[in-house]
Subunit: 274 residues, 2 copies
DNA sequence: GAGCATTTTGTAGTAATACTACATCATTCT
DNA sequence: AGAATGATGTAGTATTACTACAAAATGCTC
């Protein structure tokens, strides 16, 4: 339906095209509006809108709304339009949601090519895991730490530059450092990675391919999630990173087998008792 | 939606139940009918049908038809298989990814019914925003704080019981507290909410409907994301919560308009310069 | 470039639809 | 049995979508 409107756009008269464009930009708000309201919002007359509806194949305005409702709920509509000033709250919310879904789907498609096996192999024998990240990635690091420590291996999160540098300085042969960054362009972190590797630690980077941090890692998860173009769409890529860490933790839990299982169960019970 | 009607069935009066059953049996035909036609087909009166629609959560007959149209077009959605011992690393990773996608899709479907407008209205005039959460929800709170403070309103995150209680104690008329919890069963937090409301603060809860925390809030985002059945699938629901906060932040940014925009842009530049 | 023809757009009115207030009927409880 | 509560339908009203028609706007011919 949305696709259909998009196709029609060229063959429409100016006023009807304005309708088409407005509806594509604010589908949710269109759904919530009556014919008269829509006419006012778009700045045209009611019959023009009705004529537009007919052209899309609907029998009238109400029918078009029904079809639109169907189209919006179909997950196929994730061609994510950016949030724009003037969007209704409902439209903006759905656009962000679609973007989030899209980010995770992209990561899902990427996953088969990522070196999970290697990471698991490196982590399973480690003495400790250290998760490092700055800014928003710091939250990802903390979140990951929170999850991984339940597997029974000492884990910590470092979320500022001095701490990361110090951690790298004292790291040793049996440590695994997991460096999380969206851009991969923090020179200080890249330096910390080199230092850690010189100390014999294993460094896994979760960042953009070709970046300095990717270069200074023992192993890299190349996450090229489309960057957030608009200032309104904050960090949907971070969701993808979190999902990635989830997947890694589960893979690791499976590899560790019985002992990790026991620890997981215990920490769950500890929460349940509270 | 269809599920909801099915659940309601027992609590309906005889005439309304006949409506429910007919709609469940012939949903497509219901969509194509007007209110009067439906009344005739079912053998009841128009107001009975309208009352039934209201009970499903819709605002009237037209709104119910829209929701029905959405429900009918939704494919049965991602059946997520659980991770099991013996899975290969690749299998496990893909299963976790599918689960993550599922969690966000569920939240996406929930979103249109959540009170974003009310939340935005309450938050836009506030003196400060405080995000509270324990455990994994604490990370969500911190993450949210990190995002929201960029809009230019003082924000903080409280992630342990004593801090939350103290914050509630000193909160006042112009403060908005956002309480995040998966279960909603932390009595201490619920107590903090009551206290804060007595002080005149506005309390928004993001938690399960019917829980103590939901009851003690000024406004509740009812997030009933299926609980993580297996110990292997950690917190995919948390992804949904994060996506929800993203959406709220964007909606808020739009409502705040120019000033928020400027602040967002500035904080982006601050990062870019580093 | 004026005048006709065609398409596009808006105005005003009409028919329908959804919704509401109220009366009637059924059911339950004292 | 009779009052009280709740369920259901009737009749009326206000919206809403739609239509016929007229006014602009655009394109074409001479």
């Amino acid at each position: 339906m949305l696709k259909r409107i998009d196709e029609l756009r060229d063959s429409l008269s100016p006023a009807e095209r304005r309708v088409a464009e407005w509806v594509l930009a604010h589908p949710r708000e269109a759904l919530a509006s009556t014919l008269a309201e829509l006419a006012r919002k778009i700045g045209t007359s009611e019959p023009t809108i009705v004529r537009f509806c007919r052209r899309t194949g609907a029998s009238g305005y109400s029918d078009m709304k029904l079809r639109l409702a169907e189209a919006l709920s179909r997950p196929a509509s994730y061609l994510h339009r950016d949030v724009a000033p003037g969007d209704s709250v409902g439209d903006a919310v759905m656009k962000v949601m679609d973007r989030s879904v899209h980010a995770i789907l992209t990561m899902r498609d990427l996953a088969p090519n990522l070196p999970f096996e290697d990471a698991v192999a490196a982590m399973r024998g480690a003495r400790q895991w250290v998760f490092c990240g700055l800014g928003a990635s710091g939250d990802v690091a903390r979140d990951a730490c929170q999850k991984f420590f339940r597997l029974g291996v000492p884990s910590s999160a470092q979320t500022d530059t001095p701490s990361i540098l110090q951690t790298a300085a004292v790291s040793g042969r049996e440590d695994v450092l997991l460096m999380i960054s969206h851009s991969g362009r923090w020179q200080d972190v890249a330096r910390a990675q080199r230092q850690a590797r010189e100390n014999g630690a294993y460094v896994i980077a979760f960042t953009q391919p070709g970046s300095p941090m990717a270069g200074e890692a023992s192993l890299c998860f190349e996450c090229e999630v489309g960057e957030d173009a608009s200032i309104y769409t904050p960090m949907s890529s971070r969701l993808a990173q979190l999902a990635l860490m989830d997947a890694l933790q589960v893979a690791l839990a499976l590899a560790l087998g019985e002992s990790a299982n026991r620890n997981l169960q215990r920490s769950k019970q500890a929460l349940g008792a509270a």
